[in-house]
C-alpha cells in the first residue's frame, strides 16, 4: 500500500508507523535543488524561543522555492493582547498552506491542528513532543552508521525533561535497539516512557555511570540539562556539571561510536571532542534542513 503524507499533520512521533518513518527519511533522496514548493506559504509560529528548528524550517521552505510568514516572538502579536490560540490559528490558516508551530503548553499543537484545515507540524509542545527533531536524529544515525536496526544507544544526562530523548527512544523501539539511560536518580526516565518501551519489548538498562556501559555503545546521545525546567537555580547548578563528557570520558568507547546532541549545548560536551570522528552533532544540525525539506514536500504533496 502506498504511503502518502499529503495534507497530514505531524504532531507526535507516535503517530507514525515504522514504514512511515522510513518513507520520510527515504524521501530526502528526492530533494535536489528544485522549486518543488514554488508558490506555497509556510506559517512559522514560534510562541517559544528556537534557533535551529525555526531557522531550519524556514531555510528548508525557502530552498524549495516557497515563502515564509510568521513570528518568533509572540510579544509583538495579538497573542500578547489575550487572543486565544484557537483564534490565532483560524487567522493564520487563511494565510498559509502549512503551519509549523512551537508552543510552551503540552498538547497545544494537537489542539491547534484540530482547529484548522491546513496541515500542522509540531516543532515542540512543552515537554511533550518534538517529532521533527526525532526524524533528523534517525536520518543522522542512518547516514553516519549506515543502518537503524539492532543498535545500542546510550542516552546521557536529562532523561526526565528531555523530550528529544523520549521521542527518539520511542522511534528506535521500531528498530530493535538496546537502550541505556544514563542519569542520576533525580533525572531518571519517567515511568510512563519506560513502561511504553517495555510494552514494545525494548531492552532497557538504567544506570548512573557512563563508564560502565560506554564500551557497548554504537551511539551516545548527550542532552542538555535544561535550566528552564528547574524552578530552583541551586538544583540546576548541582546537576549541570555532572554529566559532562570529554576525551577522557570516552576513551573506552567503541572506535566508531558516534556522539550526538540535539543542541544547544551548554557545557555537556568538551569542545576538544568537536574535531574527533566520533562527533556528529553539527552534521545532525545540518541534516535538519534536508529532513524538513522532505517532510514539507511530502505534506504539501509535491512528490510525484
Amino acid at each position: 500500500m502506498g504511503i502518502s503524507f499529503k495534507g497530514r499533520d505531524l504532531i507526535s512521533i507516535k503517530d507514525l508507523t515504522k514504514e512511515e518513518l522510513l518513507y520520510i527519511l527515504n524521501s530526502t533522496s528526492k530533494i535536489k535543488g528544485n522549486n518543488l514548493l514554488k508558490g506555497k506559504i509556510l506559517a512559522s509560529l514560534f510562541f517559544e524561543p528556537s534557533t535551529r528548528t525555526k531557522l531550519s524550517f524556514e531555510s528548508a521552505m525557502s530552498k524549495l522555492g516557497g515563502s515564509v510568514i510568521g513570528f518568533g516572538n509572540p510579544q509583538i502579536t495579538s497573542i500578547s493582547k489575550g487572543e486565544s490560540l484557537y483564534d490565532t490559528m483560524k487567522m493564520v490558516e487563511s494565510y498559509s498552506d502549512v503551519i509549523v508551530m512551537r508552543h510552551p503548553v503540552d498538547g497545544s499543537v494537537r489542539y491547534a491542528a484540530e482547529s484548522v484545515e491546513v496541515p500542522v507540524i509540531n516543532a515542540g509542545d512543552g515537554v511533550n513532543q518534538h517529532p521533527t527533531q526525532t526524524l533528523v536524529d534517525l536520518y543522522t544515525i542512518k547516514k553516519s552508521i549506515g543502518k537503524l536496526e539492532n543498535l545500542s544507544i546510550g542516552f546521557l544526562g536529562d532523561m526526565k525533561y528531555g523530550r528529544t530523548v523520549h521521542s527518539l527512544a520511542y522511534a528506535l523501539s521500531n528498530f530493535n535497539a538496546k537502550m541505556f539511560f544514563v542519569s542520576s536518580e533525580e533525572l531518571k526516565m519517567p515511568e510512563q516512557y519506560l513502561e511504553e518501551l517495555q510494552e514494545r519489548k525494548v531492552k532497557v538498562v538504567e544506570i548512573e555511570e557512563l563508564s560502565k556501559v560506554s564500551s557497548q555503545l554504537d551511539i551516545l546521545y548527550v542532552t542538555r540539562i535544561q535550566k528552564e525546567r528547574f524552578p530552583d537555580p541551586v538544583e540546576y547548578e548541582r546537576f549541570k556539571g555532572i554529566y559532562r563528557i570529554d576525551k577522557n570520558a570516552i576513551k573506552n568507547c567503541k572506535q566508531g561510536m558516534k556522539i550526538m546532541h540535539p543542541l544547544p549545548r551548554v557545557d555537556e560536551i568538551d569542545i576538544d571532542i568537536d574535531s574527533s570522528k566520533n562527533a556528529i552533532y553539527f552534521d545532525q544540525a545540518r541534516n535538519g534542513i534536508i529532513v524538513r525539506q522532505a517532510l514539507l514536500a511530502s505534506i504539501l504533496g509535491a512528490f510525484k
Binding site: 507526535s12 507516535k14 486565544s84 490560540l85 484557537y86 510552551p104 503548553v105 503540552d106 498538547g107 497545544s108 494537537r110 489542539y111 509542545d125 512543552g126 515537554v127 511533550n128 513532543q129 510512563q192 513502561e195
Partner: protein, 153 residues
C-alpha cells in the same frame, strides 16, 4: 426482594437503579459523575457498609432513573467493581456488567496542569490503553493518568 435492602435497611425503591459494591472512596464520585445532585427523584446513599467482597462498600439507589450505557461506563472508570441492578416493581429485572469504555470524552480532567485542556477551552479526550490497572492516555499532552490521578470535571 433485593437482599441488600433487608440487610442494610436502606429504603427499597420501586423503580430505578441500584449501584452496589462501590469502593467507599468512590461513592460520592459516582453521585458527582451521574449529576445526581440535580436529580429530583428519591436517592439513597449509604457508605462504609460491611461487604464480604470488598470489606467496606458504598451503595447508591436512584428512584425512577434507568441508566444508559454511557453513564454506566463512566461509573466503571471510578468504581470498576461496582454492580448495577435495574429495579422494576421492587424486583431486580436486569443486572448490568460495567465495562470500561475505549475512549472517554469530557468527563475527566487531565492531571497535567500544563496540558492545553487545563489552559484553554478544550474538551478532554482520553484513550483507555489498559483497563486493569487503569491507564488513560491524554489525547493532547500524551501523559498517562492512573486511577489515583483521576479528577472529575
Amino acid at each position: 426482594m433485593d437482599k441488600t435492602v433487608k440487610e442494610y435497611k436502606i429504603s427499597a425503591i420501586k423503580e430505578g437503579t441500584v449501584i452496589d459494591h462501590i469502593t467507599p472512596e468512590s461513592t460520592f464520585k459516582v453521585i458527582e459523575i451521574l449529576d445526581l445532585d440535580k436529580n429530583k427523584e428519591i436517592i439513597s446513599v449509604a457508605n462504609n457498609l460491611q461487604s464480604s467482597k470488598l470489606g467496606k462498600k458504598g451503595i447508591v439507589k436512584i428512584g425512577s432513573k434507568f441508566l444508559g450505557e454511557e453513564a454506566v461506563n463512566k461509573i466503571a472508570i471510578i468504581a470498576p467493581n461496582a454492580t448495577l441492578n435495574i429495579i422494576r416493581d421492587y424486583k431486580v429485572v436486569q443486572k448490568l456488567k460495567l465495562k470500561i469504555p475505549g475512549r472517554i470524552e469530557g468527563t475527566l480532567k487531565c492531571f497535567n496542569p500544563n496540558c492545553i485542556t487545563n489552559l484553554e477551552k478544550v474538551d478532554t479526550k482520553f484513550k483507555v490503553t489498559s483497563s486493569n490497572p487503569l491507564k488513560l492516555l491524554c489525547n493532547y499532552c500524551e501523559r498517562i493518568m492512573k486511577r489515583e490521578d483521576i479528577v472529575l470535571l
